[in-house]
């Protein structure tokens, strides 16, 4: 069974797996085997829609609607999965209307994300139970670059199953043998006579027929839509202002809320001016949420967001921070203590580094806590109808998390939750932040107190940046012993940071990963890039003052920085060219070689640059996609200019080349913003950088030339939403070294004044 993340057979932590199997067994094999995991049964759906299966309905006028249970947050998932349907259903993807379904069907679950295995590779009785147990939740969620990997077979099967039903319906209606009919451009066609019937005219019959047991999927050579540049299906809505995001939800009777939140590390609510808040025109209620000593916040409800915000300001809530003295420096000290102490957990153990002899070198790398800064701040809109019924609107990465937030709020007052209708809207950026339930918990608490009134809670930008979840701060100590030929014979790395898996689980779920089994902390190491005979990789997690959460590419960002910078340091020690050094040690992987070759060619690697200019390279696999980046910079004193960035990515089969290109451009600019200038400082328990004047995003004027090469290959598709994030920071730092001889081992590379740090 091929594992997605690790060649060493790593699935999910033993504890979670055992718990899942036990829980699944408790439900009973009989019950589990009745679950409609596949969602391929046709019928009449909600509001009389004609469902060929859980993924596709067709109206009598021929309009096709695809139900894509993944959040469109910019990554193009609606277009990608609609293209899979369109390929088998023989229609133009641009004609498909894509919706996020509201029904929490098991067929909509994302299995790749929790199981870390491609669905095609699920086998054996344990996997049978595990997959069905997850179906009972079901975990519907978007993230981890899993949507295409998870949906690759499922959405094509949905299209093929629907096509076969339409073919069967046409055979019956036309009185012709199936073999003489084919699906073509929204019609079933009888080639010999030229007779054709539109899907809209066939669907009513088609949904009465039994679905095919095993629809045949097209071979890659026959693809006519996959691999072509389908225009994204959401473009028109997003250039006309018609696209609705979570923050735009506006059910009738809406009231608005703003909130003052405790410091991110926690804190008691010590006081607020209730009368002053209520005196603000438009304010209808003031409400403290959660017990004062473990406050969740102080909310004001009003007839407009602006009035609610003014009400919060008038309330002037004060909190006693739980960790008033924590700073990035105190965290660094604690990380160093972890690295020096006995609590590191060995995660990868190959050979024995102690037996390697030769030149040695060692280095320590530091990366900062980072915010997501989605352009759309967090929001939640909740209506408590009473008797356990709720309706919720938002741009969440998972409707399950919306429900969990509501359940957490309900627990505060012993309110029942039995029926939650979730409306998932477009997300103005997600990046992991919108997979959290905090806004839904707060808003639901307000909604429960005001049963019958929908309430929309909007985070200000200060709330969003200062009271979120964050990429952990990390420190890595990494050492190598070089063989006689200069290549790395032994590599030891100790990574100290935080366990997002453990923290996320503790926040929201009935189970949590053990920190010593945290998967994100091993990203960059788990799928090796180089043949290194002796390796010891260890990790350790601490609880940091800033709560940590999933952040685009996670460990690929902070581990990628350490690994690919350090490999460059080894190359310099060996007197070798950075690219040649990598080729000499690279694992036997055709995609890696193609990425190196492409980068070498596009960057004109072999031609030296004049003094003061330099190129840096980094390449490794993330989420099933092989990505490499070359950065070209000019360093003049302490002034850094990024002149050009070249990225090459091989995601296996390419669904839509331009969407892959978009995601690479996106990831490069994301990582460049982080690597150059982003940091978070703490003072008196609060984040200092709470708006864009202090937490900078790269601007259009500051954006360098970015050249992208998308390399399609035959392998099964990888995820592309995050893959180019990891290699950027090390390629940039390596370029700075090549241009100036300065090896900077800390992110961000620039100090507060914008100069290269010492």
């Amino acid at each position: 069974m091929v594992k997605l993340l690790s060649r060493r057979g790593f699935l999910i932590t033993g504890g979670v797996l055992l718990g899942t199997v036990t829980a699944g067994a408790a439900l009973g094999v009989g019950y589990l085997s009745t679950l409609d995991l596949d969602g391929m049964t046709p019928g009449v759906g909600p509001d009389g829609r004609l469902d060929l299966n859980a993924f596709i309905s067709i109206a009598p006028d021929g309009q096709i609607t695809a139900y894509v249970a993944r959040t469109e947050m910019g990554q193009g998932v609606q277009t990608g999965l609609a293209t899979l349907i369109a390929e088998e259903l023989a229609v133009d993807p641009a004609t498909i209307h894509v919706l996020h379904p509201t029904e929490p069907l098991p067929a909509y679950g994302n299995y790749t994300l929790p199981l870390q295995t491609r669905p095609e590779d699920v086998s054996g009785p344990v996997q049978w139970v595990v997959k069905r147990f997850f179906a009972t939740l079901p975990y519907i969620g978007t993230g981890g670059s899993t949507s295409v990997i998870d949906g690759w077979t499922q959405y094509r099967t949905a299209g093929a199953s629907a096509r076969d039903l339409l073919l069967a319906a046409a055979a019956a209606e036309m009185g012709l043998p199936l073999a003489d009919l084919q699906a073509e451009d929204g019609h079933i066609v009888h080639a010999a006579s030229g007779n054709r019937m539109a899907y809209g005219d066939l669907v009513a019959t088609a949904i009465t027929l039994p679905p095919p047991a095993a629809p045949v999927l097209k071979k890659a050579a026959a693809f006519t839509r996959i691999g072509r540049d389908t225009p994204r299906v959401d473009l028109r809505a997003k250039v006309t202002g018609q696209a609705l995001y979570g923050i735009d939800a506006a059910p009738d009777g809406l009231r608005y809320a703003a909130v003052a939140m405790p410091p991110p590390a926690g804190g008691a609510l010590t006081g607020f001016d209730d009368a002053a808040a209520r005196a603000v025109k438009g304010v209808v209620d003031v409400m403290a949420i959660g017990p004062d000593e473990a406050s969740l916040g102080l909310a004001v409800i009003a007839d407009s967001y602006w009035s609610a915000r003014r009400g919060v300001e008038a309330a002037a809530a004060t909190f006693a921070p739980a960790q008033p003295d924590a700073t990035a420096q105190t965290v660094a000290t604690a990380l160093q203590a972890l690295l020096d102490g006995p609590d590191m957990s060995d995660r990868i153990s190959i050979g024995n580094p102690a037996t390697a002899t030769g030149d040695t070198l060692t280095a320590t790398y530091d990366t900062a806590s980072l915010a997501h800064a989605c352009m759309e701040p967090m929001s939640a809109t909740v209506l408590h109808q009473g008797d356990g019924a709720f309706t919720v609107w938002g741009s969440a990465q998972s409707p399950v998390m919306m429900r969990i937030g509501i359940e957490k709020a309900a627990a505060l007052t012993g309110t029942s939750v039995s029926d939650v209708t979730s409306h998932v809207l477009f997300a103005g950026g997600g990046f992991g932040r919108k997979g959290e339930a905090d806004a839904y918990r707060l808003c639901a608490a307000l909604a429960i107190k005001h049963t019958g009134t929908p309430i929309k809670l909007i985070y200000s930008r200060e709330d969003d940046l200062g009271h979120g979840t964050y990429l952990p701060q990390t420190r890595t100590m990494i050492a190598a012993t070089l063989a006689a030929d200069g290549t790395v014979a032994a590599l030891t790395a100790k990574v100290a940071g935080a366990s997002v898996g453990a923290e996320f689980g503790a926040r929201w779920l009935p189970f949590a990963d053990a920190p010593e089994a945290d998967l994100a902390m091993l990203e960059g190491y788990a799928v090796p890039t180089y043949r290194i005979p002796h390796q010891r990789i260890a990790t350790a997690a601490m609880v940091q003052p800033l709560p940590t959460g999933f952040w685009r590419a996670n460990g690929h960002f902070y581990n990628g920085f350490a690994i690919e910078c350090f490999i460059d340091e080894c190359a310099a020690r060996a007197g070798a060219d950075s690219l040649a050094y990598r080729r000499a040690m690279a694992r036997d992987d055709a995609r890696l070689m193609r990425v190196y070759d492409t980068l070498a060619r596009l960057s004109d690697w072999a031609t030296p640059l004049p003094a003061g200019r330099g190129r840096g390279i980094a390449a490794f696999e993330s989420y099933g996609t092989m990505t490499g980046i070359v950065v070209e910079v000019t360093v003049d004193g302490d002034t850094l200019t990024v002149d050009r960035i070249i990225a090459a990515a091989d995601p296996g089969i390419v669904l839509t080349p331009d969407i892959v290109r978009q995601q690479i451009e996106s990831s490069v600019i994301w990582a460049l913003s982080a690597a150059l200038s982003q940091r978070l400082t703490l003072q008196d328990g609060l984040v200092v950088e709470t708006n864009f004047d202090s937490f900078p995003l790269l601007t259009l004027a500051g954006c360098p030339v970015i050249d992208v090469a998308v390399i399609a290959s035959d392998g099964r598709p990888g995820g592309v939403g995050e893959a180019a994030v990891g290699p950027l920071a090390p390629a940039l730092a390596n370029a700075v070294f090549a241009a100036s001889g300065r090896r900077i081992r800390q992110l961000p590379l620039l100090d507060e004044g914008g100069a290269l740090r010492a």
Partner: protein, 148 residues
């Protein structure tokens, strides 16, 4: 007070200091104009007031009385998109799309002032923030629209 928004005069009963952004979104129900930062740093809230790009999150509604306010919803004429909107689609600019209303309004103002902008004009004229990294395509789309 009376506001003229997208060519239609509306009566609104709001605090004169209420930011134009929230009047547009809440009192007029036009949600195409977005909230991003509240300090005029990101431009997601950009509208045109008498043809000038204005960051409406930091613009009191009373300042818009008597002016011609245009939002993203005004760019298309029925089903016919503006040159810029079509150029945005042709270049496949939007990813999450949240910043794009503001970007399009800022670009509309730029082209009205500089019909044939250079790359440097675009860098100076478009200071809106985008988190998804659509900048290279925005620049290409503006140039394409200016040549259409």
């Amino acid at each position: 007070m009376q506001l003229s928004v997208n060519g239609v005069v509306k009566d609104v009963d709001v605090d004169p200091e209420k930011p134009l952004l929230w009047v547009i979104r809440e009192d007029l129900g036009l949600t195409g104009t977005k909230f991003g930062c509240g300090i005029a740093a990101c431009g997601a809230c950009t509208v045109l007031v008498d043809g000038q790009a204005v960051r409406s999150c930091s613009y009191p509604v009373e300042a818009a009385v008597g002016a011609d306010v245009r939002t993203i919803e005004s760019l298309a004429t029925g089903d016919v998109l503006s040159r810029l909107q079509q150029a945005w689609i042709d270049a496949q600019v939007p990813q999450c799309g949240y910043c794009q209303s503001g970007m399009l309004m800022a670009a509309t103002a730029l082209l009205a002032e500089i019909p044939q902008p250079t790359e440097d004009d675009i860098k100076a004229g478009i200071t809106n923030l985008c988190r998804c990294g659509t900048y290279p395509r925005i620049a290409r789309a503006i140039i394409a629209a200016s040549q259409a």
